[in-house]
């Protein structure tokens, strides 16, 4: 077994066991913290497909995270006020069903990723970083100045949405839902990286000219990866909104984009379990450093600097070594 596989198994086992033990000794806060990790890791898995496999440095994934969040917020707010979303040409009402909300979140963020991708992928390098950022900022300012869904104040949803057969207000059951989705996404991401599509995508990252010479269009591969990436991050956004029962424009802010990127890089770019390791480490640090001082972000910044300057390859890269070539 490769060292990275062992690290991954330990991570997965630890991630499931710790909240279970916490639940048994009645520490619901730890369970909620772990749920947060699961959701943020899911957002990171989305970004990792574009960033790690495709080499597309998107600084605007908050756009998809926020769209997922607002898909939940808009649908649920219409359901809780019993007002239809659309009356013409067909009447569409809101919903409190998680399954429907997830589908809508995935569809909306996938569509947005398609449009943003078609436009942004014409550029490369710094221009790509900046244009993805610009699209996220556009949505941020739009939600801030559009009063119909709370504007700057955001939207509160009073009761968590429902999932058939489960009580979603119980922390451990909501944790189970998020973790199940996390593992499905991990499975898909792992399959994707070894599939012909994934292999072609990774060779586009390493040498686009050569891939083009074999008759594959890099643009199509990148666009597909960008759309899949946006869909997964959008789903994470819907779950995040459900966790907090609140959405606000801050989900679209460039800090959110930066943080999702931090999860991926902290864990290890292009590593299957990198986003999970990164998100877990980030949340633990936030919690631990927050206990020392209210200025914990100062220490977090120093730590991040240390990771970038001295531990290249992130957490998984440091523990498991450079087995997987990352150019």
């Amino acid at each position: 077994m490769r060292r990275e596989t062992i690290v991954n198994l330990v991570l997965a086992a630890g991630f499931v066991l710790v909240p279970l033990v916490a639940w048994m000794i009645d520490e619901p806060f730890v369970v909620t913290l772990a749920t947060r990790v699961a959701i943020l890791a899911l957002a990171g898995i989305g970004l990792n497909i574009a960033l790690g496999y495709g080499g597309l440095v998107s600084f605007g994934h908050a756009a998809f995270f926020g769209l997922g969040g607002y898909a939940m917020g808009v649908l649920a707010s219409h359901a809780q006020s019993f007002s239809p979303m659309l009356t013409w040409p067909v009447e569409i009402s809101g919903t409190k069903s998680m399954l429907v909300i997830w589908l809508v979140a995935i569809a909306v963020s996938g569509l947005a990723a398609l449009v943003i991708g078609i436009l942004s992928l014409r550029t490369t390098g710094v221009y790509f970083i900046m244009i993805t950022l610009a699209f996220a900022q556009m949505l941020y300012y739009f939600t801030v100045s559009w009063p119909a869904y709370g504007g700057e104040d955001g939207l509160s949803i009073y009761v968590r949405n429902s999932f058939p057969g489960l009580n979603t207000l119980d922390p451990i059951q909501f944790f189970a839902i998020c973790t199940a989705l996390l593992f499905i996404a991990l499975f898909l991401s792992g399959r994707l990286s070894r599939s012909p599509f994934g292999l072609a995508l990774q060779s586009v990252r390493q040498n686009p000219e050569r891939v083009e010479a074999t008759g594959i269009r890099p643009f199509d591969l990148r666009l597909t990866a960008f759309v899949i990436s946006g869909m997964i991050t959008g789903l994470a956004g819907a779950l995040f909104a459900d966790l907090n029962r609140f959405v606000s424009p801050s989900m679209f802010s460039w800090h959110t984009s930066g943080e999702i990127m931090v999860f991926v890089i902290l864990g290890g770019v292009g590593r299957l379990f990198g986003p999970l390791a990164g998100a877990a480490l980030f949340i633990l640090l936030e919690h631990w450093l927050g206990g020392f001082t209210t200025y914990w972000q100062f220490l977090l910044g120093l730590l991040l600097l240390g990771v970038v300057l001295f531990f290249r390859g992130g957490l998984i890269g440091t523990i498991a070594g450079r087995e997987v070539a990352h150019d």
Binding site: Y127, F298, G301
Partner: protein
């Protein structure tokens, strides 16, 4: 809407534009010469504003504060360059984005630690407190007018520096071929530190000038940073001329959009709805402008092909 009001708004746009130019010039120089994306540039802007406010409060003189802002931002730039940025030049953009993102956290929280969360206030110097009369009977705040003049003078100075001086020659040579000028005996790491300090000082100066018309607070650099990035992307990264054109384009578009769009929509919508739609669209306008420019010219208006 009268012509005078429109001219005032154009002047406001110009004032925003020249401030953005001071930020964007530093960013674009640092990218052009060292190939570095510096997200922490907004923090240097904040350092300038805080230094000016603190010194002005202690001595009662805005002008001493302005000098302090230049020195503090340049010093902060030199320290950051020597400790962190220097290690990032040969890394990929991803590492640069992350490391400078971390620097923002350090700067913002560090400033909050020292100065607290409450905004500081900086008064406009008495010399520039009143209005100034422009031809055509326009009364415009003297301070804002001074910002425009100072910004344009600095822009002219920067062009002269790059085009006419030995330092400028080295900077341009460094953009083209860093190995070659190192081989010719130029201390390249000193040159990089100097360019970074110059960019930092420009950002600090902009922060101090704007600090007197807005409040001086933690996080004030971030919106400006994003706007400055939009500017250099529109202008073409690495081009000072592009930064100037882009900055004025962004400043004027943003300011006029906020005024004109609600009026424009008012022509065919009811007033309250027009205000909402107009304001929402106006806040997105410069990003739309940037997207359109990149679609037509993927390397910006003055970028090298």
């Amino acid at each position: 809407m009268t012509a005078i009001l429109l001219i005032e708004q154009i002047l406001n746009g110009l004032q925003l534009g020249v401030m953005l130019f001071l930020m964007a010039a530093g960013l674009t120089l640092i990218f052009g010469v060292m190939g570095l994306i510096n997200l922490a540039h907004g923090s240097l802007y904040m350092v300038g504003a805080f230094a000016c406010a603190a010194v002005a409060a202690a001595t009662g003189s805005f002008w001493l504060g302005l000098v302090a802002s230049l020195i503090a931002a340049a010093m902060a730039g030199v320290i950051v360059e020597m400790l962190v940025i220097r290690r990032l030049y040969d890394r990929d953009h991803l590492d640069q984005v992350l490391a400078t993102f971390a620097l923002i956290l350090v700067f913002s929280e560090g400033t909050r630690w020292v100065f607290g969360s409450f905004p500081l206030y900086l008064d406009v110097p008495p010399l520039l407190a009143g209005p100034v009369s422009l031809p055509g009977g326009i009364e415009y705040p003297a301070y804002r007018f001074a910002i425009i003049v100072a910004g344009l003078l600095i822009a002219a100075g920067l062009f002269l520096l790059i085009a006419r001086t030995r330092l400028g020659i080295r900077i341009r040579a460094g953009e083209n071929d860093r190995e070659m000028i190192a081989a010719l005996g130029v201390d390249i790491s000193l040159l990089y530190t100097l360019v970074f300090a110059l960019g930092a000082a420009l950002a600090g100066f902009a922060g101090a000038m704007v600090g007197a018309i807005q409040s001086v607070q933690v996080g004030m650099g971030e919106p400006v940073l994003i706007l400055a990035f939009v500017v250099i992307v529109i202008g073409g990264i690495g081009s000072i001329r592009g930064a100037l054109v882009g900055a004025i384009l962004v400043g004027v578009t943003d300011t006029l959009g906020r005024v004109l769009l609600p009026i424009l929509f008012g022509r065919f919508m009811e007033a309250s709805q027009a205000t909402t739609v107009g304001a929402a669209l106006a806040s997105m306008l410069i990003y739309i402008l940037m997207a359109v420019v990149l679609l037509v010219r993927p390397r910006g208006l003055f970028g090298a092909a």
